[in-house]
């Protein structure tokens, strides 16, 4: 192993030399963090157009610049974004310069988004069939009817990508093009730590325990890389520049990371068992609402974007999709970033919308 080459003499006797400077930086960063605490999240105008239980379907209003193309937009096929159940979807529209939604609107697309809301105790028996067939399905049907069209484009993100794959396999005619972001298909790849940890969970107990608070899942995700995610990222602020906007970006992400909705007990237990434990999706043994979810039945064009440095959905877990689909028009692409970087990093904010927009334009 190569020895650490930096100067380390401060450790020996002279350790106090930079402490005043460090103390000042800590105080300054803390004050600026407190100033930034009330940053707003979400930037594009939207309106609720349908709801079912705690689920709300939003339609984003066209941007002023794109409004001049309104006739073209209304004729275009709508794009429905299906986010994960375990996080809030506003990360896709966090701030003007980091908003996938805004970029899609700017390209003249007609964008809808599903917000699953906060399941409470009355929803603890919601299962995956409810989410796929009635909540996601209800959104799809509402859009198709209200737009008078026979199909839409579906963009599934992370766990929402899994739900989107299930829906597309079960309702082929309603989905023209499918885009998936950081979506796992093979839950048993050797590098999937999350999968290893939950492999022997008793899902019946999980089901009986009631809804799982968002904080519990946050704790699980943080524990995958505890030092980087709970220590290092804060200490790195001491080395950063003093631009308040950078700190505000950081706080926006913090707000999102720690703002996780509770999980309906039955749906979570089913997801853990069917996907993480039994790997049913890739094995072709998954059934939802009595119907088999056959990935080979997905014959429409698919764009699959995954992160090469993803610690939650390893790239191999997502890239496996190519082998299972019936589609002859599959595009898989690994992006050099991490899981959250896919939605919120500068790289993600630049590269991902461009890829989605150009891919969809080639498939009118």
């Amino acid at each position: 192993m190569r020895p650490f080459s930096a100067d380390a003499s401060f450790l020996a006797g002279a350790a106090g030399a930079f402490v005043p400077e460090l103390t000042l930086r800590v105080a300054d960063t803390l004050a600026r963090l407190r100033q930034a605490r009330d940053v707003t999240v979400g930037c594009s105008a939207k309106r609720a157009v349908w709801s079912f239980g705690k689920t709300t379907l939003y339609e984003y209003l066209p941007l002023r610049e794109a409004a001049r193309d309104a006739p073209q937009r209304s004729a275009a096929r709508p794009l429905l974004i299906c986010f994960a159940l375990v996080n809030r979807p506003y990360v896709l529209d966090l701030q003007p310069d980091r908003s996938l939604v805004r970029r899609l609107l700017d390209a003249g697309l007609s964008v809808y988004l599903i917000d699953w809301g906060d399941p409470d105790d009355a929803d603890r028996c919601l299962d995956l069939e409810d989410y796929v067939e009635r909540h996601l399905g209800g959104c799809v049907r509402h859009i198709l009817v209200s737009r008078g069209t026979s199909s839409l484009d579906l963009l599934g993100v992370c766990q929402g990508g899994v739900l989107s794959l299930c829906y597309t396999a079960l309702h082929r005619r309603e989905v023209a093009n499918l885009v998936t972001l950081t979506t796992p298909v093979d839950f048993h790849t050797p590098d999937n730590l999350l999968s290893k940890w939950v492999r022997e969970l008793d899902t019946e107990l999980l089901r009986q325990s009631g809804n799982v608070p968002g904080e519990a899942l946050n704790g699980l995700f943080l524990a995958l890389m505890p030092f980087r995610l709970t220590q290092q990222k804060y200490v790195r602020l001491l080395a950063g520049n003093s631009d308040q906007r950078v700190l505000e970006d950081f706080v926006r992400m913090e707000r999102w990371i720690f703002d996780s909705p509770p999980q309906a007990a039955v749906a979570l237990a089913e997801f853990v068992r069917w996907f993480y434990q039994e790997n049913r999706l890739i094995r072709g043994t998954l059934r939802i609402g009595g119907k088999r979810v056959d990935l080979a039945a997905i014959v429409q064009p698919v764009l699959n974007l995954y992160a090469l440095g993803d610690h939650i959905v390893p790239p191999a877990a997502s890239a496996a999709m190519e082998r299972c689909l019936g589609s002859r028009d599959y595009t898989g692409c690994g992006i050099d970033t991490g899981h959250i970087g896919m939605y919120a990093s500068r790289k993600g904010a630049d590269e991902i919308p461009s890829r989605i927009i150009s891919w969809l334009r080639e498939r009118p």
Binding site: M1, P3, F4, A6, D7, A8, S9, F10, L11, A12, G13, A15, A17, L22, T29, L33, R34, A36, R37, F52, D121, A122, C125, R134, G138, V140, R141, H142, L144, V145, K196, W197, L201, D202, L205, Q208, G210, N211, V212, P213, E215, A216, L217, N218, G219, L220, L222, A223, M225, P226, T230, Q231, Q232, Y234, V235, R236, L238, E254, R255, F258
Partner: protein, 272 residues
């Protein structure tokens, strides 16, 4: 100090303060007497013990009941009875409130949890010592030059890399994964057991229990599904021929085409 796993709420200033405190503590342990005199090459191997001890302490306080099930427990509540089960929300009752025979099972589960947590603690020691060893190996005989904040931050990065590598190597082991699952299962079993006690109690007062509410909800859901199916079937059904035209071949065929039927199915909005 703020415990990162106890604080899974949005408190960036507190999280930052906690991490900065940890950073200072780390720097302090670097300047222990074993680190050598100014200008001389420090004896890094002497640091390994204190570094590992400090790190192990942090791991224990962060993850005493397993990362998942400690996450939502109250700050400072430690690894006790309440901490483990409170992950799913506040407990309605303590084990002591249950009838004697039922309480035994709860206490058995508490003992089981304590046993599993003790097993987990041995892994924290393993991770801490391995991380300290990696760090010392990579430090080599670095010395000389004026101390700088950038140098300190670089050392910190190195320390985090070592810690993450050691952590990853251990937590991927099959026996560790099994232990984590056992801890989670024991926590959930304890919670379920306590809720069972609560059910007994509320029933005694004539109050509806969680299970009864769930059963009602399931019935309601089934009725809604049936209603939706009936509504759909009614929509799809061809209009009944009136008596005047019956038998003349009018109205036998549905007016809608299959494509139109599909549209009408889509138009149905499920009711909340």
């Amino acid at each position: 100090m703020q415990n990162p796993f106890m604080s899974t709420a949005f408190k960036p200033d507190l999280a930052f303060t906690g991490a900065a405190e940890r950073f200072f503590e780390l720097l302090k342990s670097f300047s222990l007497p074993g680190a050598g005199a100014a200008g001389a090459a420090p004896d890094w191997s002497a640091l390994a013990g204190s570094l590992a001890g400090q790190f192990e302490q942090w791991l224990k306080s962060s993850q005493s009941a397993g990362p998942w099930f400690t996450a939502a427990s109250a700050p400072g509540s430690g690894a006790g009875f309440g901490a483990a089960a409170a992950s799913f929300g506040p407990l309605p009752l303590g084990a002591g409130a249950a009838p004697q025979q039922d309480a035994q099972r709860s206490w058995d589960l508490v003992a089981r949890l304590a046993q599993l947590q003790a097993q987990l603690a041995s892994y924290w020691g393993e991770i801490a010592h391995d991380a300290a060893q990696r760090f010392v190996t990579r430090m080599g005989a670095a010395a000389g030059g004026a101390p700088t904040l950038d140098g300190a931050l670089k050392l910190y990065e190195l320390w985090v890399n070592c810690a993450e590598e050691s952590y990853a190597a251990t937590v991927r082991k099959e026996e560790f994964c099994r232990l984590q699952a056992q801890l989670a299962n024991a926590s959930a079993a304890l919670l379920v057991e306590q809720r069972r006690h609560a059910e007994t109690l509320v029933r005694a007062f004539g109050l509806p229990s969680r299970n009864e509410v769930d059963a009602l909800y399931a019935q309601l859901k089934e009725l809604r599904t049936q209603l939706a199916e009936l509504t759909e079937a009614r929509r799809a059904k061809p209009p009944q021929p009136d008596r005047a035209t019956a038998g003349r071949g009018v109205g036998k065929r549905p007016a809608s085409t299959p494509a139109r039927d599909r549209r009408s199915r889509r138009a149905r909005k499920p009711r909340a």
